[in-house]
């Protein structure tokens, strides 16, 4: 009855065994994988104990996704073995992996929005024998049984598409269980969850553990790893950088392990300026979203706005950007009272908005870096006959992409989706800087950006502030806001509940304010 308490004592590349010398539940040994000329994995070992809560942490591109795909049988490793309960597999197929009990929950959950919760949970029932009568009662019973095991209660007859994401995540976990999972692999599970919802998820994961089901989180979010996992395996550049009990780590140490950089824990000195505010918000309200919001940001100041999901921050940001008309209150840009009917008007007044969702809202992925850079300023680049002046376009791109933001690429004429997350974010910044903004609203700018690249992004942000831009930094990561802003506002349930000076506040105090 292995319950994971026989924790291995090791750091580094050793193959762990339990103190008793039993083989671990799942072991990956010496996995190497190449794609064309790129080596994704090199001699990676991973071991997972039965019923343990394990995290696989590392920056984007470190190989964790590839490793998972090898475990699930989607990719065949060039070298190495996957050993499931002592039995070695050289060519594991997806079917074999699933039959053993490896169930992967992707970040998009892969549920069917047009089917009920019960049908989603028991969907495998349909796949196994298609030409059979779908027995609704049997499926409902199975779904109910799974829910009982996990001690959750989900509305069985609701269509999944109508449910909030936290509920959908639970549906996905139930589905994995219904498929007789013995290891549930979750990809960035807390990315869209509020703190309360994370607690809910944590409870379920512990219940999984009690059911003798192991969980593996793939993550690069330090909070998630520290809160949830028992052991964490760190990956860097395709190699296993060690497996550690989480109890022996703190966030800073974990971050250092993942990136290899020492964390900067400096805080910005207080900001003072005689200049008139670039952005003033007075008593702004939008029914059902936020009420009575008032603040101001001066040129050169970085104002941090934090709060959990659902606190109204994004809705507020979109109101400032003209995409979500408020019901009452006033917005002033450079002293002038404005009322935006669409985001073009906002841009013209000097407001730029870097969206949280870079992949589908921030950039047009299949199109070139060049086109993505100038898309917001096309009308400013026209010359005779209303056509785009090629020289000025090239100049804009040269200036912002290569000179100012130093995007790592040989040419701007390749699709932007070929760039890394950090470089993509630089293109986004280039696009908005080209509009000559006075106010830059950054909404979770480092989501999906490696911890190492984050520092680079914030260097750029600091430089922009130094040049006189007023910056509103929205983030739900308390530490990010603490170290990167001059002032912090906390939002909760649509209201601003506190203002904090980073020099006089600790991370914990901030977190308490956010999640109170």
């Amino acid at each position: 009855m292995t319950d994971g308490s026989n924790s291995p004592q090791q750091q580094g590349n050793g193959t762990p065994t339990t103190a008793k010398g039993e083989a671990p539940f799942i072991e990956m040994r010496g996995i190497s994988k190449r794609f064309g000329g790129v080596r994704a994995l090199q001699d990676v070992n991973l071991s997972i104990h039965a019923a343990e809560i394990h995290s696989l942490a590392g920056e984007n591109g470190c190989g964790k996704s590839t490793l998972i795909k090898v475990l699930s049988g989607i990719h065949m490793p060039d070298e190495g073995q996957v050993i499931l309960e002592g039995k070695a597999h050289n060519h594991l197929t997806p079917d074999a992996s699933q039959r053993f009990g490896v169930q992967i929950i992707y970040q998009d959950l892969s549920l069917f929005p047009n089917l009920t919760v019960a049908e989603n949970i028991s969907f495998r029932h349909h796949v196994e024998t298609p030409v059979r009568l779908a027995n609704r009662n049997v499926m409902r019973k199975q779904a109910q049984a799974v829910m009982d095991r996990l001690k959750v209660s989900l509305p069985l007859d609701e269509l999944v598409g109508t449910l909030p994401i936290a509920t959908r995540q639970l549906v996905a976990i139930c589905r994995a269980l219904a498929a007789d999972a013995r290891l549930v692999v979750m990809d960035e599970p807390t990315a869209s969850l509020s703190h309360q919802e994370v607690e809910g998820l944590l409870a379920v994961v512990h219940e999984l553990k009690r059911q003798k089901i192991a969980s593996l989180f793939v993550s690069h979010r330090l909070d998630e790893v520290m809160d949830i996992a028992e052991r964490v395996t760190v990956m860097r550049d395709g190699r296993n950088f060690g497996t550690y009990p989480v109890s022996e780590l703190d966030r800073r140490r974990l971050g250092e392990l993942i990136t290899g950089h020492v964390f900067d824990s400096s805080v910005k000195p207080p900001f003072s300026s005689e200049a008139a505010p670039a952005l003033e918000v007075r008593d702004l309200s939008c029914t059902g979203q936020y009420t009575g919001i008032s603040f101001e940001v001066r040129p050169g100041e970085i104002l941090g706005l934090t709060g959990r999901m659902g606190s109204g921050r994004t809705e507020l940001a979109l109101s400032l950007f003209g995409m979500n008309p408020p019901d009452s209150g006033e917005i002033r840009v450079n002293g002038k009272s404005v009322q935006f009917h669409n985001n073009r008007e906002a841009i013209r007044q000097g407001i730029a908005y870097v969206s949280e969702d870079r992949l589908s809202l921030g950039l047009v992925m299949p199109q070139t870096i060049a086109d993505n850079t100038v898309i917001s300023v096309l009308n400013r680049l026209t010359g005779r006959l209303g056509l785009i002046d090629g020289a000025r376009r090239a100049q804009t791109i040269e200036h912002w992409i290569f000179k100012e933001l130093r995007v790592k690429t040989k040419t701007a004429d390749r699709p932007v989706q070929q760039l890394s997350g950090g470089n993509q974010q630089r293109v986004v910044l280039a696009k908005w800087l080209a509009t000559d903004p006075r106010v830059l609203i950054l909404d979770s700018p480092t989501v999906g950006v490696d911890i190492g690249a984050k520092a680079g992004i914030f260097q750029v942000v600091d430089a922009l502030a130094a040049r006189g831009l007023a910056i509103l930094l929205i983030s739900d990561e308390a530490d990010e806001v603490l170290h990167q802003s001059h002032r912090i506002l906390v939002m909760r349930s649509g209201k601003i509940v506190g203002a904090y000076d980073p020099n006089r506040t600790t991370e914990n105090q901030l977190r308490e304010a956010i999640y109170a």
């Binding site: 898309i375 096309l378 056509l387």
Partner: protein
């Protein structure tokens, strides 16, 4: 399941000249190669008739109406949509113009009456087309209905109006000024071809160098992200369908001039061919990518094949069947081509 890599982004060059051309722009190079093959092939099979000046002239007069309609199909395709109503729009527009012309003038009408009537007819035809485009664009852009459904609806409705108003009959007999647009030559060059080339150049310039064109391509790849970047995507989409319908009007003028008549059911077989020409010409049916040059070359190729088949005595039904099969082939080719380009990119980086 769209190709992930830009089909227009030039792939890195290689050594020999043909491979180099192939790598830089596979679509254009392949089409060029096929055109040469077609000339050789048909030339061999029917030398005197295919390689004659008369045949060339016939092709030069036949191609423009299809070409302009293909341009009308290309623009919605680039925006990520489709306009299935182009033929119906062209026919309705032509019928409106034909009705005015035949009612207002006869062979003995004085010149100024003729000029006035022609102007009125052309103007009304244009307005008709624009109204159709506006309605289509508004429903697609502001109501968010899928372009296939909208244009199927408008196509049915427009054809219905046309059939109802004419009881399925023909309206014909236009003044020489109109006929000239479809059958005349200027300095030896066929007028309809000039109109087509003018349109093609205009569209190419717009799609590549005008803010509208660039925005449309971005919208085709990701409408929401383009909107978040401050582009008035709804209005752009309305513009797409208005522009498409405008081209239908131009095609209508050329068609009625060539046939000296207008009818509700004309040129229906063209619909598939315009989509075929677009796909063959490198325009991605998922939106965002494509060049006018590619479309132009594929049209030449298709026209050659069509004429060649005709000369060889193929039944028009057989030709239609071949178009259907060619479309399938074209999709297969573009799939292979895109995978190949993706591999080239992978190797160069």
């Amino acid at each position: 399941m769209s190709p992930e890599v830009a089909t227009t982004a030039p792939a890195p060059a290689k050594r020999s000249s043909f491979s180099e051309l192939l790598a830089r722009d596979p679509t254009v190079t392949l089409l060029g190669a096929f055109i040469v093959l077609a000339v050789i092939g048909f030339g061999a099979l029917a030398p005197e008739r295919f390689l004659s000046g008369e045949t060339l002239r016939a092709m030069a007069f036949q191609m423009p109406e299809l070409g302009i309609l293909a341009l009308a199909m290309m623009i919605p395709l680039m925006s990520g949509g489709l306009n299935l109503a182009i033929i119906a729009t062209a026919n309705l527009s032509a019928l409106v113009m034909a009705a005015i012309l035949t009612r207002m003038i006869g062979p003995e009408s004085p010149a100024h009456v003729m000029a006035g009537a022609i102007a009125l007819a052309l103007g009304t035809g244009l307005v008709t087309a624009l109204v159709v485009g506006l309605i289509t664009g508004v429903i697609v852009a502001f109501l968010g209905v899928h372009p296939i459904l909208v244009t199927l609806g408008t196509m049915t409705a427009i054809k219905g109006i046309a059939v109802y108003a004419t009881s399925g009959g023909v309206i014909g007999g236009f003044p020489p000024a109109i006929l000239f647009l479809g059958n005349g030559t200027l300095l030896g060059f066929p007028v309809p071809m000039m109109i087509f080339i003018l349109c093609a150049i205009l569209i190419a310039v717009i799609m590549n160098h005008a803010p509208f064109g660039v925005s449309v391509r971005m919208i085709g790849s990701n409408e929401k992200a383009t909107r978040y970047s401050g582009v008035a995507t709804e209005w752009m989409l309305v513009g797409v369908y208005i522009l498409s319908s405008l081209l239908c009007w131009v095609a209508a003028v050329v068609m009625m001039a060539r046939f000296n008549s207008a009818r509700a059911g004309y040129a229906e077989s063209y619909l598939l061919i315009t989509i075929l020409a677009a796909v063959l010409g490198g325009i991605d049916p998922n939106g965002g990518f494509g060049k006018v040059l590619g479309l132009f070359l594929s049209l030449i190729l298709l026209q050659m094949i069509s004429t060649g088949f005709n000369l060889l005595g193929f039944s028009p039904h057989l030709t239609q069947a071949i178009w259907g099969a060619t479309m399938i082939l074209a999709i297969g080719i573009s799939l292979v081509r895109d995978k190949w380009i993706a591999r080239l990119w992978l190797k160069s980086t």
